[in-house]
Amino acid sequence: DQQVKQNSPSLSVQEGRISILNCDYTNSMFDYFLWYKKYPAEGPTFLISISSIKDKNEDGRFTVFLNKSAKHLSLHIVPSQPGDSAVYFCAVVLTSGTYKYIFGTGTRLKVLA
């Protein structure tokens, strides 16, 4: 029973264009959402987060959008750079009741020079 899904296992984008990574979740009680980036042989690195009371958060080239009614989260990277090539994981957090911190399956982004 996957509570968090990243339906695109891979994505290729030209340098300078926008990268859009998507994440769907099933439980409307999740109250915090994060994106992590992972390079080979390294642990995930935190990128950006958003709480359930907001619908958008920006940090430089990275913007996270939250659509609570659709239970959908997306990460926009503009402009994409070759150094952005990595695996991106969304994560959702339930802080009330039974604590849960659930990662998606990941999307491998390749930015082509």
Binding site: Y36, S51, T95, Y101, F103, T105, G106
Partner: protein, 113 residues
């Protein structure tokens, strides 16, 4: 400042054995979480400890246990190892519990023969 450090980096065990993995959090971080990552999947939440108390537990059998020490370092123990326990085990630390971004170590690669 040193990041999250995990030891050992690689480990080979046989079925039925027991293993202890170690984690030192970032200085000042009081929360430590453990994750299991198998190939092609996102990290799966095992435990979270905050101020030496267990604050969350994922869907893992009782063969998995952990503890946090007064200096906030942590150990993950796995008993009666199975072939399916072969995975990358990630430790993450954060300032507090709940939704704060987590800082990951590079993991311990555990192989069961």
């Amino acid at each position: 400042d040193a990041g999250v450090t995990q030891s050992p980096t690689h480990l080979i065990k046989t079925r039925g054995q027991q293993v202890t993995l170690r984690c030192s959090p970032i200085s000042g971080h009081k929360s430590v979480s453990w994750y299991q990552q198998v190939l092609g999947q996102g990290p799966q939440f095992i435990f979270q400890y905050y101020e030496k108390e267990e604050r969350g537990r994922g869907n893992f059998p009782d063969r998995f246990s952990a503890r946090q020490f007064p200096n906030y370092s942590s150990e993950l123990n796995v008993n009666a190892l199975l072939l399916g326990d072969s995975a990358l085990y990630l430790c993450a630390s954060s300032l507090g519990s709940s939704y704060q971004p987590q800082h990951f170590g590079d993991g311990t690669r555990l192989s069961i023969l």
